[in-house]
């Protein structure tokens, strides 16, 4: 019995079959890389695993139990970082993170969340002054806000410089070492050692 399993998943968007008969089984500490050209369904799969999309067929299982992706219990065990950075332009970095921490149910913002991606110096700056890479760091800092076993990351390293890419890889490695799962859609700019690979190349595109 695996921790997180997908069986026969299919996704249909605007009448088009994006993918079909998709399967994976992940054990604690596993990484899964989603690879493939743009529009091949990587983002759709991540959104589906997060519960934002409903699969048109197939099922998901957590620790052996089938669940619906929009199950609130499922939402409480995942972090999702999509294409959008979700930073409010008129709030400072700290205010943005404090809001997210509150949304997740925490009274206090952990300073570690600011430290990991060198956001301490930027903490009091409104997000509208940040560069694309800095906004990305703010989005990723969310991963430090609360421990969640399942991370769903969509092109997380876009716009990151080499140092912060290393920070990200370190963060993912720590997460996996602690038994967490990490599913990443990437064009190869993040490396996950010993990760499984799901290739979308030409499957539907």
């Amino acid at each position: 019995m695996s921790l997180f399993e997908a069986r026969g998943l299919a996704c249909r968007r605007a009448g088009r079959l994006v993918f079909d008969q998709l399967e994976f089984a992940l054990e604690p500490g596993d990484g899964l890389i989603l690879r493939g050209p743009n529009g091949s369904g990587k983002s759709s799969l991540l959104r589906l695993l997060a519960g934002l999309l409903r699969p048109s067929a197939g099922e998901l299982r957590w620790a052996g139990g089938a669940f619906r992706a929009d199950d609130p219990e499922h939402r409480a065990r995942l972090h999702f970082v999509g294409h959008l950075d979700a930073g409010k332009a008129n709030l400072t970095v700290r205010e943005n993170l404090a809001f997210l921490a509150g949304l997740l149910g925490f009274a206090e913002l952990r300073e570690a969340a600011l430290e990991r991606f060198d956001l301490v110096a930027l903490a009091e700056l409104p997000v509208r002054y940040l560069s694309a890479g800095q906004k990305r760091r703010l989005a990723l800092a969310r991963l430090e806000l609360a421990p969640r076993p399942l991370w769903l990351l969509d092109e997380p390293a876009v716009g990151l410089d080499a140092t912060n890419r290393l920070h990200l890889e370190g963060l993912i490695a720590d997460h996996r070492a602690a038994g967490g799962l990490c599913i990443v859609a990437t064009h190869g700019d993040v490396s996950l050692p010993d990760a499984l690979v799901l290739d979308f190349g030409g499957a539907a595109a």
Partner: protein, 239 residues
């Protein structure tokens, strides 16, 4: 599986029903019109002008009925994600809007001899006018998105919200009307009407219903074909 099986079955049933509905419509329309325009007696108060009732009342009834139909279909579409229900709701909307427009226009034409003016803020007419706007909103929302599936689902939610609000709106408008215009001349509440006028009316209602069924089936067939083309294109472009 049911995604494909059902439209096919619908197609078979629709093909079988269509000729019968068409024949019934062809037979009943002249009968209904003859009853309404010739056989039925003129109203003792309103004279020949009251004959417009045989168009106005069925149109107004069907306008409400069609909205209810859309709401039920939308609920089915949202809960069970039944593709056919979405198609049916979308297909019914313009027909319902047309019925509403007919009810408004005939109401206004009828109002001229009765009230001496084309428009009076009578409770009934006001409610129908609001219903007309609800139809327009539904149709506009349907077409407001690049992804037709998104438009269809948003419109389904709107149809349900509208259906829940419709009785409240009706109640408010009736209440408002008693406040501002205590005497309403239009009284068409079923049982008080003479049988000689009731039968033509019921025939005309049936004619309107058959027309709705006919147009609904034709439009649904058209939309299913359109969807199929869209799907073929999408998978063709993708693969």
């Amino acid at each position: 599986m049911h995604r494909y099986a059902n439209p096919l079955r619908f197609q078979r049933i629709a093909d079988a029903l269509l000729p019968w509905i068409a024949v019934a419509l062809l037979v009943l329309t002249p009968i209904g019109l003859y009853q309404a325009l010739v056989l039925a007696p003129p109203d003792y108060q309103q004279g020949e002008a009251a004959r417009i009732m045989y168009v106005h009342v069925p149109a107004a009834w069907l306008a409400t009925f069609t909205y209810a139909l859309i709401a039920v279909a939308s609920a089915i579409a949202l809960v069970w994600r039944h593709p056919l229900a979405e198609v049916a709701a979308r297909a019914a909307a313009p027909v319902g809007a047309a019925f509403t427009a007919i009810a408004l226009i005939t109401g206004s034409v009828w109002g001229k001899p009765m009230w001496g003016t084309w428009w009076v803020w009578d409770a009934r007419l006001t409610s129908v006018l609001i219903l007309f706007f609800l139809y327009l909103g539904y149709i506009a929302l349907h077409d407001a998105f690049e992804d037709p599936a998104r438009g269809a689902r948003a419109a389904s939610i709107l149809a349900l919200v509208g259906a829940v609000n419709l009785p409240i709106i009706k109640f408010s408008v009736d209440w408002w009307n008693t406040l501002h215009q205590p005497s309403s001349i239009l009284r068409l509440d079923g049982p008080t009407i003479a049988p000689s006028m009731l039968w033509p009316l019921l025939t005309m209602v049936l004619v309107f219903k058959l027309y709705l069924a006919l147009v609904l089936i034709l439009r649904m067939r058209g939309q299913l074909a359109e969807r199929r083309i869209h799907n073929l294109r999408a998978s063709g472009a993708g693969g």
